[in-house]
């Protein structure tokens, strides 16, 4: 048994409805994340992914339920859960180095200035921004800004990395490079990651497990998909893997139709939100080439 680092237990989030009463974004949600695992969450816009991530980060409190990290219920944000924000959220009046050093200084209050700088520079180097240390965020491209955000989060050397669509604002090429870098770093350091994405291919490339969320309101975790691809996959080779289309089709199928119809699908059947099905989509005819898909 692998050790559970994070346990989301029976959380609910409700907002007052416009006409009185309350609408639940989700109810009774359970999810566990093991140490060193890369978990992606996929679901349609508005289903509550950011809400889950903010609760994990401690930026938002659930209406009910708890999040347990390392056997302790959380009661707010903490340095051991670093967040990479979708909009990078760099402080524009600080330089690249200033932004990263701000985080390092917050983590290691007893460190000298020189030590903080050295540590920050190490992570700026790691994301390939050597030479831009003294630039202001406004002088950076979108991809570079996101890199600074990643360096800032990694420099905390957190137990857990939380990412909310970190690459969605980037062009395909930059996104690919950054995915490679983040994957490399996380694999090397055994980082535990929870990441939200809209991009099925991104999820397949990066994730060990993919959490599928149904449409809101009252969204549910429909199932957890285990990635059948080997851990040492390569971006431009994965589509040749026998199980690639199995998992890809499974995910797309979910997004296209099952995310909407899941509640009907489950009607009458027993449903245990504490133990959602773990699915491992594999090719039915191993190592057979993908059949041509018929046009509708």
């Amino acid at each position: 048994m692998t050790e559970k680092l994070i346990s989301i237990e029976a959380i609910a989030k409700r907002y007052p409805a416009p006409g009185g009463g309350q609408t639940a974004v989700f109810e009774n949600l359970w999810l566990g994340i093991n140490r060193g695992e890369f978990v992606c969450m996929i679901g349609h816009s508005g289903c509550g992914k950011t809400t889950v991530l903010n609760i994990l980060a401690g930026l938002d409190a659930p209406s009910e339920g708890v999040v347990i990290v390392d056997n302790q219920a959380i009661d707010g944000p903490a340095l051991d859960r670093a967040v990479i924000f979708q909009s990078h959220a760099l402080l524009p009046w600080r330089s690249v180095l200033g932004n990263v050093a701000y985080a390092v200084g917050a983590r290691h209050k007893d460190w000298s200035k020189a030590r903080i700088k050295e540590h920050a520079e190490k992570f700026i180097d790691l994301v390939g921004l050597k030479g831009s240390e003294y630039k202001k965020p406004s002088e950076l491209s979108g991809g570079m800004k996101q890199r600074v955000g990643i360096a800032r989060a990694l420099s905390l050397e957190p137990k857990m990395l939380l990412m909310d669509e970190p690459f969605s604002a980037l062009d395909a090429l930059t996104r690919g490079t950054l995915q490679d870098e983040v994957r490399g770093i996380c694999l090397n350091t055994g980082q535990t990651v929870f990441m939200i994405t809209h991009d099925v291919d991104e999820a397949i490339y990066l994730a060990d497990k993919i959490v599928l969320m149904t449409n809101g309101p009252e969204a549910q975790i429909a199932e957890i998909v285990e990635n059948p691809l080997p851990k040492d996959r390569e971006r431009n080779q994965i589509h040749k893997h026998a199980d690639y289309y199995a998992i890809r089709n499974h995910l797309i199928d979910f997004l296209v139709s099952r995310s909407r119809t899941f509640k009907d699908e489950m009607k009458g059947k027993p449903w245990d939100p504490m133990n959602v099905p773990l699915v491992r989509p594999v090719s039915e005819t191993p190592s057979a080439p993908e059949p041509m898909r018929k046009r509708a």
Binding site: L59, L79, V83, A89, L91, P92, Y102, A103
Partner: protein, 285 residues
């Protein structure tokens, strides 16, 4: 790049030429308008003596630019003389005015910025203080003068109080607005880094709100400088406002014009100082 630069150079150069032309045109027509030699009026020589050149030779009562320039030169070369309460150099009077403005303004900064922080951070305080601000803000600062004179019993401190009360509002409102509209994601960054409330105020909220706060401070210094002239006309004694009023009573229009010019220049300098400061704290997004 170089072409654009050259264009920019010629633009500012051309603008400077036009500015100088306008100035020359203005001074020229001023000169012509005031040096007019109208028909010499026929009148009793005794009466003519009383009236002076103004009436007898059609010379305007309004001093010309040369006259004003000459007195201005006198003021510039000897700004700090002191021949008793009614005859002090322009520099001394300006120093009094600037001193009052700076004191009242600094008091306002000390009050407005912390209070603005409080209002900006707390919905409760924002709502609770809003009615007071709404009522107090539109009151002309000079309306406070009698009350100030009655309670403080010192014309100098009353003038400082009036400066304080007129400069406090723009700073307070801008600080509150700037603090309240700090981007939530920046606050979230501070929260995920477990930065304490005090440090967060200084390392995130203050730099984020600084451009808005400085805008308020710039508006305030402008208003303070407008108000000090009026306040000093009321309380008298010293200051550039008093100087204007005193010279009017002496019927020295030349000095009044000199004072107007100097008031404008000092106001511009004060404004530019704050503009510089605002530039220092502005960040591009």
């Amino acid at each position: 790049m170089t072409i654009q630069k050259a264009n920019a150079m010629t633009l500012s150069f051309r603008a400077a030429v036009v500015s100088i032309l306008i100035l020359v045109l203005f001074l020229g027509s001023w000169h012509l308008a005031t040096s007019g030699t109208g028909t010499v009026q026929q009148m009793d020589p005794e009466y003519a003596k009383l009236m002076g050149l103004t009436a007898t030779q059609g010379k305007s009562a309004m001093p010309g630019p040369l006259q004003v320039g000459a007195t201005l030169w006198k003021h510039i070369t000897n700004p700090f003389y002191d021949n008793g309460p009614n005859d002090k150099g322009l520099g001394i009077q300006l120093a009094y005015s600037i001193g009052r403005v700076v004191l009242g303004y600094l008091l306002a900064v000390i009050v407005a910025i912390p209070l603005g922080f409080l209002i900006g951070m707390s919905q409760l305080m924002s709502r609770a203080l809003d009615p007071f601000i709404q009522v107090l803000k539109p009151i002309s600062p000079l309306a406070w003068m009698p009350l100030a004179l009655y309670t403080i019993k010192d014309s100098n401190y009353s003038a400082i109080f009036v400066i304080f009360i007129c400069s406090v509002w723009p700073m307070l409102i801008n600080t509150a607005f700037g603090v309240a509209s700090v981007r939530k994601e920046w606050l979230n960054v501070a929260r995920t880094l477990e930065v304490g409330a005090f440090k967060r105020a200084f390392t995130v909220i203050l730099p984020a709100a600084a451009p808005t706060i400085l805008t308020g401070m710039r508006i305030s210094i402008g208003i303070a400088w407008l108000v000090i002239v009026a306040a000093e006309m009321l309380v008298g004694g010293t200051g550039i406002g008093y100087f204007v009023w005193n010279e009017w009573n002496n019927l020295s229009i030349t000095n009044v014009i000199n004072a107007i010019l100097v008031i404008g220049i000092v106001g511009m300098i004060l404004d530019q100082l704050l503009a510089r400061a605002a530039k220092l704290v502005t960040y591009p997004e």
